[in-house]
């Protein structure tokens, strides 16, 4: 093999790996990009059931109902609210009035069935999406 042919082998090999990688990235992106919607957007956009997305807001006071391991509660951006059900142990920082983000999908009745509930790390933490949607609703009183 001449020097040129060898170089071509490496270039073609590299391109092949890159092509595979691009293919993997595109397929993975198609299925796994998860959008965030505020409760208002959930009401206005009419998101079809069985599509995974994230919703977040403040947990409405007195909305939490628990039976065994399943919990049902509402989150709000103060304009609209969405009812969420979750099966499992909630994070230690889950509280009424706390900002949370849930990952899951709507069922046929417009109830959001969460597969994961995130309430992170400390009492001052506000998920950025929740902060933004509260700002959009005009009620954010944070220092940012």
């Amino acid at each position: 093999m001449t020097r040129k042919q060898r170089r071509m082998t490496f270039v073609l090999g590299g391109m092949a790996v890159l092509a595979v990688a691009v293919g993997l990235v595109l397929t993975a992106f198609q299925d796994n990009l998860i959008f965030f919607h505020s409760p208002t957007e959930v009401h206005e956009k009419g998101i079809p059931p069985e599509r995974r997305f994230r919703v977040g807001g403040l947990v409405v006071e007195d909305s939490v109902r628990q039976s065994g391991l399943s919990t049902s509660f509402e989150v709000t951006d103060t304009v609209h609210s969405v009812r969420i059900t979750y099966e499992g142990i909630l994070p230690a920082l889950f509280r009424e009035g706390q900002g949370i983000v849930a990952v899951g999908m709507l069922n046929g009745d417009g109830i959001f069935v969460a597969q994961e509930v995130l309430a992170k790390h400390d009492e001052n933490y506000m998920p950025p999406e929740v902060a933004d949607s509260l700002k959009a609703a005009g009620v954010w009183k944070g220092d940012e």
Binding site: A21, L24, V25, F35, L69, I89, V103
Partner: protein
């Protein structure tokens, strides 16, 4: 007083860094020996000054001097000693100071141990190192002063985030930083070589130990972080593809590639320009990681502060460093002479495949990590890229890599014999087939990925051992001769074998724990029995106990298997008053065979507690594997070839002599 001393020392360190960054560089360009010689004492001096500054901050934490704002915000007089110390770097300002301390430590180490470096290269490396130092010192002094005073001083501090009050996390940042910042040395060497316009095998020999050390520390840092997530977050998971995790994982991938490509430069004087690029990219990814984590772009336990000026400063610095070094690369790299030739099937070819797959994987992780940020900045749409994306792109790229790791070391330099190498792997192939058959039978129709994982483990594990046995000529010569060969084998070979076996151990842990784990979530009352795989957990009850600076809800489970007592697990939920917060402390019984893992949640008000119980077979092998990789790195580091006389520069440019040999 100590705070003022600390700040003053930092300002002095900045002055020293400015001298170190300029005069030696100019001296090297003009051949002025005296100016070049300035670099070494300056590097040591800079380290000493930063060390004084760091000691001053540590002292403020130890005596709980709450007139220092940083201490008041992040410490508390009731904190145990260990967390008073680790609190120093448990916040934005202090962690940056630690970063600088380690940066200057590496600078001083290059100055002290780099006696065999040519004076010009040494001066340039230290000058570049000082440039990075200037950037970070300015950052601390201008935007993140850890020594700012508070008047009047509060009676007590706010306390450290309880999630960070953990021995594993106390040492996680220093290790991670040793890795991150260790890559700065490689970066400085790369930039210095570009300025000099000369890269040869000797250069690679000087760079390799630093890369190895940085890589080993980074491995340890990431493994510690992952283990912390495993037992502290209480989800039983050990890797979440969280952007913050990715931020440390990307430099690791780049450093792993660099580690391997530097071998080609050292042995064959080829892949030079690529290696330089990797060195630049690896450190750039470290900086990017710092930016992502510290700027508050990503929200997590690591984002200590969301201060836009800081973000802008780091971003500017990032652009300067990456842009500058890549521009230099673009200008100077074409002048590098191409080195030795080799066939696609050869040790070099194998290492190129390694690099190709690692850097591609690194790129897909980068894309997945940054895409949400870009989309948010451009369209305002909020998306998140979840673990399925990363698993879907990363795993397919790693599978061929792990499979190739068994073959690569068996190929000869320049032109390898693939059929011969595969022939030597016959035993591995047979054992792999048997293991897959066994797994198939155990799993009935389990996931293909699990079978693939099992296949890779056996293939790589046996392959690495066969390769090692081949070096000893085990069975082909007398045992005594084999032993002699074993004694004389370079340490680097032991390091490589250990690290590659570590990869196999890790894949084993991942595959088995993900495939065969059992998880039970339910509400239990005292006396309840819960079956988890073939174990039985009996809930004895829960009680409230005081800890040093928290209240703890402790649940007790006795675990039996077939009637025989196995262990007692006592998971806790801790409530900290300063700052008010709860953490879960999983109770874990670790054996080589697997972990039993219990988490207790809140009482449900009717005498029951929500609990999560797991049986995770072989999960510990994930960290055992990382430990083996790290040890492999350190064993390689002790190879005498890295220390003794060898890195003397060839009198004749090596590429001329070797270029012809490849055809």
């Amino acid at each position: 007083m100590s705070a003022e001393i600390g700040q003053f020392a930092l300002v002095l360190a900045l002055c020293v860094a400015v001298v170190q960054a300029t005069l030696p560089q100019i001296g090297a360009a003009r051949g002025n020996v005296a100016w070049m010689a300035l670099a070494k004492p300056a590097a040591v001096m800079q380290f000493a000054l930063v060390a004084i500054s760091f000691a001053a901050l540590t002292e403020a934490y130890l005596v709980s001097d709450f007139s220092v704002l940083n201490v008041a915000q992040n410490s508390h007089s009731a904190k145990p000693l260990l967390y008073k110390i680790s609190g120093v770097w448990g916040n934005h300002e202090g962690s940056l100071l630690l970063w600088i301390l380690i940066l200057t430590l590496f600078g001083a180490a290059v100055a002290l141990f780099g006696d065999n470096l040519p004076p010009g290269l040494s001066a340039r490396v230290l000058a570049v190192q000082a440039l990075i130092g200037i950037g970070f010192l300015l950052f601390v002094l201008l935007t993140s002063n850890p020594f700012a005073r508070l008047d009047p001083a509060p009676l007590d501090g706010n306390g450290l985030n309880p999630l960070l009050q953990d021995p594993g996390l106390a040492i996680h940042p220093p290790f991670l930083y040793l890795g991150y910042v260790g890559l700065s040395v490689t970066f400085s060497f790369a930039v210095a070589a570009l300025i000099e316009g000369r890269i040869d095998p000797a250069w690679a020999r000087w760079v390799r130990p630093w890369t190895l050390a940085a890589w080993a520390f980074l491995t340890a840092g990431i493994a510690l972080g992952s283990y912390w997530a495993y037992y502290e977050l209480g989800w039983g998971g050990w890797w979440f593809w969280d952007p913050v995790e990715n931020a440390s994982f990307m430099p690791w991938l780049a450093a792993t590639a660099l580690l391997h490509s530097a071998i080609v430069v050292e042995k064959r004087d080829a892949l030079k320009s690529w290696t330089i690029l990797l060195a630049i990219v690896a450190f750039s990814l470290s900086l990017l990681g710092t930016f992502l984590v510290r700027s508050g772009v990503l929200n997590s336990v690591h984002a200590f502060a969301t201060d836009p000026t800081r973000g802008v400063f780091i971003l500017g610095f990032l652009l300067l460093v990456i842009g500058g070094s890549l521009t230099l690369y673009a200008v100077r790299a074409p002048a590098l002479k191409p080195g030795g030739l080799f066939a696609p099937i050869s040790r070099e070819g194998g290492l190129i495949l390694n690099n190709l797959l690692l850097s591609t994987a690194c790129a897909t992780v980068l894309l997945g990590t940054l895409y949400p940020l870009f989309l948010d900045a451009l369209t305002g749409q909020k998306v998140s890229v979840g673990p399925p994306y990363f698993n879907g792109t990363f795993i397919p790229l790693m599978v061929p890599l792990v499979a190739a790791v068994a073959i690569g070391p068996m190929l000869a330099w320049k032109r390898g014999d693939l059929a011969g190498a595969l022939g030597r792997l016959k035993a591995a192939a047979v054992l792999t087939a048997i293991a897959v058959g066994l797994a198939w039978w155990l799993l009935a129709d389990g996931p293909i990925l699990a079978l693939l994982g099992v296949a890779l483990v056996v293939w790589l594990g046996v392959g690495a051992l066969v390769e090692f046995a081949g070096r000893l000529k085990l069975g082909r010569i007398s045992a005594a001769d084999s032993w002699r060969r074993a004694v004389n084998l370079p340490r680097a070979v032991y390091g490589m074998t250990l690290a590659h076996l570590g990869v196999a151990a890790m894949v084993l842990g991942i595959t088995v724990s993900e495939t065969w784990q059992t998880e039970v979530q339910q509400i239990v009352r005292p006396g309840d029995r819960v079956a988890v795989s073939d174990y039985e957990f009996t809930f004895e009850g829960a009680e409230n106990l005081p800890g040093p600076n928290y209240m703890s809800l402790v649940g007790t489970f006795t675990v039996t298997r077939g009637g025989e007592p196995v262990t007692v697990l006592q998971p806790e939920t801790r409530s900290y008053p300063n700052p008010p917060m709860q953490t879960t402390e999983a109770a874990i019984r670790t054996t080589l065979g697997g972990d039993l893992y219990a988490v207790i949640g809140e009482p449900d008000g009717n005498g029951g507690y929500a609990v999560r119980l797991y049986d995770k077979p072989l999960v510990g092998w994930i960290w055992l594997g990382s430990l083996m990789m790290m040890l492999g790195g350190f064993v390689s580091l002790t190879d005498r070839r890295h220390r003794v006389g060898a890195p003397a520069r060839a009198r004749v440019p090596a590429d001329g002599a070797l270029a012809g040999a490849g055809d």
